[in-house]
């Protein structure tokens, strides 16, 4: 085991580093969920520096920063996983079908992707969150919509590229139906690039979730690292711990997801795909 980890550290440092950082974030979220401490409980000890009682200090309402950070990571991870998963499933399915079948459906979905791509994603999320009232479920839906164009184009491109290849034509000649061809022959070829893409999108999801909460349009019922950083903004002179710890944890989570994406991409052993861009 140790030997294998050491070998991986040499050959795939990014993948390993990404997995380690995500494990830290995952354990933190788990500790928050199982710890039982109430992240909203206020106390008389306002703005106290890190101590044994409060390892990460307390905030302006006397809430324990450590407890809040653990819960905040949980919120970010939930949003990231759900949105990346939902967005990837829907967009991949539509992209594969559209690319393979072509025709009117393909044209329509491509136009939709084009429109969504010119609207700046974060602004769209901001306006929608403000318009409908902030909720985590809504945020997941918005993120899935935002992620649609890129994943759709990726899956569509793969399907078009693989459609006329010999092994697909052979399967078609052997009498395989379109669904079987998509599932057995085209999806496996497109899978790696889509997983890489989903990994970067999870990182973007965390950025957008914390960013919206930072601006005050996040879900008030869930602890968000972004909202904690917004609180910290007013106390930068007195309470550095209010900014440092939430910020570190957001960064660790996002960096983990981006490293994972990079590492998986290296496995494909083609040149690096940029996170967050079209095509």
């Amino acid at each position: 085991m140790i030997v294998r980890v050491a070998a991986m550290a040499r050959s795939r440092p990014r993948l390993l580093a990404g997995l380690v950082l995500l494990a830290i974030a995952g354990l933190a979220a788990l500790a928050g969920a199982l710890g039982g401490a109430d992240p909203f409980r206020t106390s008389e000890t306002l703005l106290t520096a890190p101590s044994l009682d409060h390892p990460f200090g307390t905030d302006q309402l006397g809430r324990d920063v450590l407890t809040r950070v653990l819960h905040g990571v949980g919120t970010s991870l939930r949003v990231a996983l759900l949105s990346a998963l939902a967005g990837t499933l829907v967009a991949t399915a539509l992209g594969l079908v559209a690319g393979y079948a072509g025709g009117l459906l393909d044209d329509l979905l491509l136009k939709l992707a084009e429109v969504l791509q010119v609207i700046p994603a974060f602004l769209l999320a901001l306006v929608a969150a403000a318009a409908f009232g902030p909720s985590l479920l809504l945020l997941v839906v918005i993120l899935a919509v935002i992620f649609f164009p890129r994943t759709f184009r990726l899956a569509r491109g793969e399907a078009i590229g693989l459609r006329e290849r010999d092994f697909v034509q052979a399967a078609r000649a052997a009498g395989a139906g379109p669904l079987r061809i998509l599932r057995r022959h085209i999806l496996p070829g497109a899978l790696t690039i889509i997983v890489v893409n989903a990994s970067f999108q999870a990182g973007t999801a965390v950025l957008i979730e914390t960013g919206l909460s930072f601006l005050g349009v996040g879900d008030r019922d869930a602890v968000s690292l972004g909202a904690m950083l917004a609180d910290a903004q007013s106390y930068l002179a007195q309470a550095w711990w209010m900014s440092l710890f939430p910020g570190l944890l957001v960064s660790v989570t996002i960096l983990g997801m981006n490293l994972l994406g990079d590492g998986l991409n290296e496995l494909r052993e083609v040149r690096t795909v940029m996170p967050g861009r079209g095509e």
Binding site: V115, V118, P120, S243, G247, T272, R277
Partner: protein, 320 residues
């Protein structure tokens, strides 16, 4: 060529119409409207109805969209009651601050990013390469609002070297030269914050594109002719590598506009981002729709410009 530009322009107009329809639809199905905000929580029902009539909120969605599109075609983005001025004026008033910040950040990002990207690609697999790649990945992953906060905490609050926010020092009588210096001092922290994020992006793209090009035959041929390595890197390889870099930066303009809101919020920078945030919080629909339309226009225009730049950088590319 001309035909291509014309077709792209027509496509862009179609896209923008779709953006208007989508934004209007979104605001329409959302609960509450600007009349409620103006009338307040315990608003008089008659006053509310009057307000709705005044803003055509009682008309059908189709009517509202149609009227809006006609106005946009005439260069009128509507009137913002919250701002007390036409939306176009509100946007024009905030645009210079945003352009100043974006321009400075992009300059930092391009200058530093291309340099570091080429450096990293010149010795792939070296310590230098690994270091630059890690720095750029970290720069890309740290939330821009936290990075800004760290800079403020350290350089403004603790050391007091630079102002923590705003664009000018309030209440001081300054000469023209001092005013420029004053704005420049306020500009440093926000533009370094935004510039670092963008630089990370440019580094990553430049490095990948350079490595791609450096494997090509003509680079080997240039090296074989004994041309100096710096010349090969900068004159031969970089020119071709710039193509994907241009695409990424224009394609990422939407991201830049989004991040702008966060940076402006951290530094209280009086630009379009703060205007957008204000209009979100006050349900100022005309300004919101105007801003979304404006930024979508900027993104679409940048994409078109990026494709044209492509042709200039690489004469092999021709569109029909």
């Amino acid at each position: 060529m001309l035909w291509y530009v014309a077709r792209r322009l027509a496509g862009t107009v179609g896209l923008l119409v779709a953006v208007v329809v989508a934004t209007f639809g979104l605001m329409h199905v959302a609960p509450g409207d600007v009349a409620q905000v103006l009338a307040g929580q315990s608003g008089d029902p008659q006053y509310l109805a009057d307000l709705r009539e005044q803003f055509s909120l009682d008309r059908s969605l189709g009517y509202q969209i149609g009227a809006y599109l006609l106005n946009v075609a005439r260069g009128d983005l509507g009137f913002s009651v919250v701002q007390g001025q036409p939306v176009l004026d509100a946007i024009a008033g905030r645009l210079p601050a945003t352009l100043l910040l974006a321009g400075t950040s992009l300059t930092i990002a391009w200058a530093g990013g291309v340099l570091l990207g080429v450096l990293a690609a010149s010795r792939p697999g070296s310590r230098l390469d690994a270091g630059i790649s890690i720095v750029s990945l970290v720069g890309y992953s740290i939330p821009v609002f936290w990075f800004g906060q760290l800079l403020v905490a350290l350089l403004a609050v603790r050391l007091g070297w630079l102002p923590a926010g705003g664009m000018t020092s309030a209440g001081e009588q300054l000469g023209a030269f001092e005013r420029v210096l004053d704005v420049a001092r306020h500009l440093i922290l926000p533009s370094v914050t935004l510039g670092t994020l963008l630089m990370a992006l440019v580094i990553r793209t430049t490095r990948a594109a350079m490595l791609d090009v450096l494997g090509d035959d003509y680079v080997m041929a240039a090296r074989g002719r004994g041309i100096r390595e710096e010349t090969v890197l900068l004159r031969h390889a970089l020119r071709n590598a710039l193509r994907p870099v241009i695409t990424v930066i224009t394609a990422e303009l939407g991201v830049v506009l989004g991040v702008m809101v966060l940076v402006e919020a951290v530094f209280s920078w009086p630009g379009l981002g703060t205007l957008l945030l204000d209009s979100v919080l006050s349900r100022d629909t005309p300004t919101l729709v105007g801003l979304l339309l404006f930024s979508s226009f900027v993104v679409a225009a940048a994409n078109l410009l990026g494709d044209l730049l492509y042709m200039w950088v690489d004469p092999r590319v021709r569109y029909t």
